[in-house]
């Protein structure tokens, strides 16, 4: 078979397969990384909700992490470009707003990759009880071990970091700053 005679083709899901057989669309979309957290794929981040393949047409459904996410257009374009490059000609990238994105959708492999990149992954998203949204007047004391030295004695430097989803922390033991993805 052509495919088996071309080593690497199976390992690279974005490459068009010789002989006109298109690579699996979910595999192509699954390899597209997030522009802000490039160590994660959009699928691991939970932004890609669905990939449907109907012949030559692919419909991808995505959801924004935050309402103001300025990378949504870039994400749409990256997914579209990857599929076009893989040989698909009809690509439709749709947006859904409900249900709203939550950090619980970051996959286990995504969390491992965040940790490997020195970013503390989020814990479980807070579950809200019935009634009004509770007010928090003191900074949350979310525990987070230092990703560099492993020490548990760390503090929040700023609740808002380089992107809306990250906070800036510092380890009191090794004094190194690091980031943590906040639960939402």
């Amino acid at each position: 078979m052509l495919r088996s005679s071309s080593p690497g083709a199976a390992a690279d899901p974005t490459a068009a397969t010789p002989g006109g057989v298109l690579p699996d669309a979910a595999g192509v979309v699954g390899a597209v990384v997030d522009p802000e957290l490039p160590m994660l794929t959009l699928t691991e981040l939970g932004v890609v909700r669905d990939v449907r393949q109907d012949g030559d047409e692919v419909v991808v459904t995505i959801t924004p992490t935050y309402s103001g996410c300025p990378a949504m257009d870039s994400i749409r374009a990256d997914i579209r470009a990857a599929l076009l490059q893989a040989g698909y000609e009809q690509v439709d990238v749709r947006t859904v707003l409900a249900p709203a994105w939550t950090t619980d959708w970051i996959s286990e492999s995504g969390k491992r990759k965040l940790a490997a990149a020195g970013i503390v992954p989020p814990g479980p998203a807070p579950r809200r009880a019935a009634g009004p949204v509770p007010l928090t007047l003191t900074a949350r004391a979310t525990p987070a071990d230092c990703p560099r030295c492993g020490h548990a004695d760390t503090e929040v430097l700023a609740a808002f970091g380089a992107t809306a989803c990250r906070e800036l922390r510092r380890c009191r033991a090794c004094r190194e700053p690091f980031e943590r993805v906040k639960e939402i």
């Binding site: 309402s67 103001g68 257009d73 374009a77 709203a100 994105w101 007047l137 700023a158 808002f160």
Partner: protein
């Protein structure tokens, strides 16, 4: 995807939405179904989306003004993040307003081509901040009201409003926490910070009353299961503000006022009259009645778009 060659990466693909900033800032609802709920006046839905969208757009602009002027760099990041969230909410709501009115006006047309009298935010959103205490007081009031409203809007019969609300709640929760923590820090701080925090709260107490005075559009849409009657938010608002003001060692009853007059917004007399309100009720920001502060905002926000129609970069 390979980006070994930066020039190739820039020019490789025939799509103008390649970058998040610059050309082709696409429709935020790309691919989202846009049907309107049955039995609802599209003009009312459009007006209501503008109310919620303009509150966010104008407050976002005021927040952005503080970037490079905040007490600490960390707070500039916080304010920029909050402004970005509100801008995102505004984009969705202004787009929805355009869909509802069926005019073909998109979010950019709504933001950059409307005149002052067509904006429907409350005057508290456009008010200039005398100092940082004014900013956090306004943010506390606006986000407390918005959180209570969005919480109820998750049950809206308009699926788009419900989705925007469900998403927005997560964001407004930390907007309100951020503002509340600053009000406590300043109120329960030094003699000087306490006095300035108290002055800020007192200055915006009367304008804040506008948020709770129902507009005809809100009443009609609330009856149709689409909107929320803002007068029903008062109890939750008072409870939250009482909690914050008490912790801040401020008078917990500062905002216990039902009084509101357009003059409370400041320089209303210097503005050309807006379209007015039906039924003899005094006009408000929800009717397009605004202060000179909005002119300052629009002059800055719209100047480029008006000078270079259709411009992109």
């Amino acid at each position: 995807m390979a980006f070994d060659d930066a020039y190739r990466a820039l020019t490789d693909h025939d799509d103008d939405a390649r970058w998040a900033y610059g050309t082709g800032f696409a429709d935020p609802f790309a691919g989202v179904p846009t049907e309107l709920p049955a039995g609802v006046d599209p003009a009312d839905l459009a007006a209501y989306c503008l109310m919620l969208g303009d509150d966010a757009l104008i407050m976002s602009h005021r927040l952005q003004e503080w970037v490079t002027r905040a007490p600490e760099l960390e707070d500039e990041l916080a304010l920029a993040n909050i402004a970005l969230d509100l801008l995102g909410q505004a984009r969705l709501l202004l787009t929805r307003a355009g869909q509802a009115e069926g005019s073909g006006r998109d979010e950019d047309t709504m933001a950059f081509r409307r005149e002052a009298a067509e904006f429907r935010h409350v005057c508290l959103a456009e008010r200039a901040d005398a100092d940082f205490a004014h900013l956090v007081a306004r943010l506390l009031v606006l986000s407390t009201w918005r959180l209570a409203a969005f919480d109820r809007l998750t049950a809206s019969r308009d699926p788009m409003l419900a989705a925007v609300a469900a998403k927005g709640i997560k964001e407004i929760t930390y907007h309100r926490d951020y503002a509340a923590q600053w009000v406590v820090r300043l109120g329960d701080g030094t003699e000087l910070s306490h006095a300035r925090m108290a002055a800020a709260a007192e200055a915006i107490a009367a304008p804040a009353g506008e948020l709770f005075r129902p507009h005809e559009v809100e009443i009609r849409l609330a009856a149709a299961g689409v909107a929320v009657d803002p007068s029903t938010l008062r109890a939750e608002f008072d409870a939250v503000l009482g909690q914050v003001l008490t912790a801040a060692t401020l008078d917990p009853h500062i905002f216990d006022t039902e009084m509101y007059a357009p003059a409370d917004c400041g320089a209303a007399a210097t503005m050309p009259p807006g379209p007015g309100a039906p039924g003899g009720r005094p006009p408000s920001g929800r009717d397009g009645e605004h202060t000179a502060a909005l002119h300052d905002i629009l002059t800055e926000m719209q100047s480029l778009a008006r000078a270079v129609p259709g411009g992109a970069w």
